[in-house]
């Protein structure tokens, strides 16, 4: 089967051509969803959206819980020639409306229970998007699947990159970028002899994240059945995995750490777990070894690497057999089936010889054309990842260091500048600095160091209240530490992060966690 498709529609059509409608491709906890049911949902949503006025060039935002509709919507929206923008439901309504308006969406799809709140916020702010109830769209007739009008260069997925400088930038992934991500997901889903049989069952954490959607659709089109849940509890995740007898997990390393902290019971052994597909962060061999102790049948790993600008995964490390749990996990090769080129360059842009370190550059179908609002694309199409790697000289690289400043908390990137901006909105805050404090469970914790205005009695609660009202859950500070001044580094307005990190590490040691 060829996986070389240039649009999401072409991937979907290829799946329709081979997959029987009664094939179970998703499980909403223990409830099976067949490919036929997904197709009907896609047709209903496409019919309802078209009737509402969506068509080529429209941008459709949606913010709905994990479920069949959340996975059918990207396919329906793509089929109309429109683009989609998913938003997490945990973000406060005000913030979601603001993001939708700034992104110039024409339609916002939410559950019926949120409609009134969205409508009143949007009309109060003078936003022009139309709010549609998911339930109404799903009540539409399942009309015929529209003929695809998508071209590879059309914009398809609007999301936000944390940017190589730590400042978030809006990004449009094209049809070609998303199609490449699905091809990468096929590669990431095939990593042990046991994955060759017609269908295996996997459980995915965070299915609605940008990378989650693409992994889920990609693996589902390959025939893998992906189990998901609405719960954010690692204990519940394991119980469902056990009950549905999954053979694989797809999750970031921090989620796997959380899973390992759950005590083993008769109901959460997941004894049949053979493989884990990891991504979004460094994968430590020590984590694999501990997972090997927890899950006796676990012997296959796929570690995907990528950034939003590369439509998530474009490189992968795979290992099979128990010996692979020793690593090395950071030696990566370009994904099969994609024509991406990589090169390792020094600061002047010269290619470094094998064995040397440099910055990873990439060019090809996975790479975005440009940032939204930017006049110019990347020079000759080469995107500079900002990640430091060693050139192994045989097409492979070894990942050595992450981009500067970004905090990696639980596998998710947190821009310290965005958190700082939120913290600074707390009445009584003079200034603040946000840094990542290393911690084995989190990767890095988000700490806000805050200088109160003179005479103000600030509390952790007042800062947290502001932050919780503005930021998505994973970006809310893990700790607020009040200080008299923010230490300054070299350069105008530069924060001395090292001193703050040392201070945070010292506090963690004194608490004993």
């Amino acid at each position: 089967m060829s996986h070389d498709h240039a649009t999401l529609d072409a991937h979907y059509d290829a799946a329709i051509a081979w997959m029987p409608p009664d094939h179970v491709i998703l499980m909403d906890e223990t409830a099976p969803i067949t490919f036929g049911e997904l197709q009907i949902a896609v047709r209903k949503l496409a019919t309802g959206l078209r009737a509402a006025g969506a068509g080529p060039g429209s941008i459709v935002g949606y913010s709905i819980p994990n479920g069949l509709a959340a996975f059918a919507l990207p396919l329906a929206i793509s089929r109309l020639g429109s683009a989609f923008m998913p938003l997490h439901t945990m973000i406060p309504d005000e913030v979601r409306c603001g993001l939708l308006a700034r992104s110039r969406v024409e339609f916002a799809i939410v559950g019926r229970e949120s409609m009134e709140s969205f409508r009143s916020i949007a009309s109060g702010r003078g936003d022009s998007f139309r709010v549609l109830a998911l339930e109404d769209l799903l009540g539409s007739e399942a009309g015929p699947l529209p003929d695809s009008v998508a071209k590879p260069e059309h914009p398809l997925l609007l999301c936000s990159s944390s940017g190589t400088t730590g400042v978030p930038k809006p990004v449009f992934l094209s049809q070609r970028n998303v199609a490449s991500a699905l091809t990468a997901a096929y590669d990431l889903s095939s990593y042990g002899p046991w994955t060759n049989h017609p269908a295996y069952r996997a459980m995915i954490a965070f299915p609605q994240s940008t990378s989650g959607i693409m992994i889920l659709l990609g693996s589902a089109f390959l025939g893998v059945c992906q189990v998901f849940t609405r719960s954010l509890s690692p204990a519940r995740f394991l119980e469902i995995a056990d009950e549905t007898r999954v053979e694989a997990f797809s999750a970031p390393p921090a989620w796997l750490e959380a899973i390992l902290s759950v005590p083993v019971t008769e109901r959460n052994r997941v004894a049949g777990l053979k493989g884990i597909a990891v991504g979004m962060d460094f994968l430590a061999p020590s984590l694999l070894q501990r997972l090997g102790e927890r899950f006796p049948a676990f012997d296959s790993v796929a570690n995907g690497y990528g950034l939003v600008e590369t439509a998530t995964v474009f490189m992968v490390w795979k290992g099979t057999g128990r010996a692979c749990l020793e690593g090395p996990t950071s030696v990566l090769s370009p994904c099969d089936g994609l024509e991406n080129e990589i090169s390792v360059r020094d600061e002047e842009g010269r290619i470094v010889p094998p064995g040397e370190e440099g910055e990873l550059w990439v060019k090809g179908p996975s790479v975005i054309d440009r940032y939204l609002g930017s006049e110019t694309g990347f020079e000759d199409g080469w995107f500079r990842t900002g990640d430091v790697v060693r050139n192994l000289g045989d097409g492979r690289i070894e990942l050595r260091g992450r981009r500067k400043y970004l905090i990696k908390r639980g596998g998710k990137s947190v821009s310290p500048l965005v958190v700082q901006e939120a913290v600074d909105q707390t009445p009584g805050v003079l200034r603040s600095a946000v840094v990542g404090i290393p911690h084995p469970l989190y990767g890095e914790m988000v700490w806000a160091f805050v200088v109160p205005r003179s005479g103000e009695q600030l509390t952790t609660g007042s800062v947290m209240k502001t932050a919780r009202g503005i930021l998505p859950t994973h970006m809310v500070p893990d700790r607020v530490e009040f200080v008299d001044r923010i230490p300054q580094g070299h350069g105008v307005g530069k924060i001395d992060r090292e001193t703050l990190i040392a201070r945070g590490t010292e506090i963690l040691q004194s608490i004993g966690v």
Partner: protein, 83 residues
């Protein structure tokens, strides 16, 4: 100086960490669904409580905590494990 571990003190500390009123919390208040804390956020809240009460709950038990009441009971079970 550590505080005595009572339900009222615990509730006040949890509310103080989140920036909400103590009356908005009861024993059944769900940490994930109602308060919107993620799994790592529970550990961050736990760190705040360790400092207040000097009681440390083992990592293996933190993952089974779902409500504010569960959190209080877990700390009570480990009163003898000073941080």
């Amino acid at each position: 100086m550590k505080q005595p571990l009572t339900w009222e003190n615990c509730r006040e500390r949890v509310a103080g960490f989140l920036g909400i009123g103590p009356s908005e919390l009861d024993r059944d208040t769900h940490l994930f669904e109602t308060l919107g804390i993620d799994s790592l956020g529970i550990f961050s809240l736990g760190m705040h409580l360790i400092e207040a009460f000097g009681v440390k709950v083992p990592l293996s038990e933190v993952s089974s905590i779902a409500t504010v009441g569960d959190l209080y009971e877990a700390m009570n079970r480990h009163r003898e494990n000073p941080a």
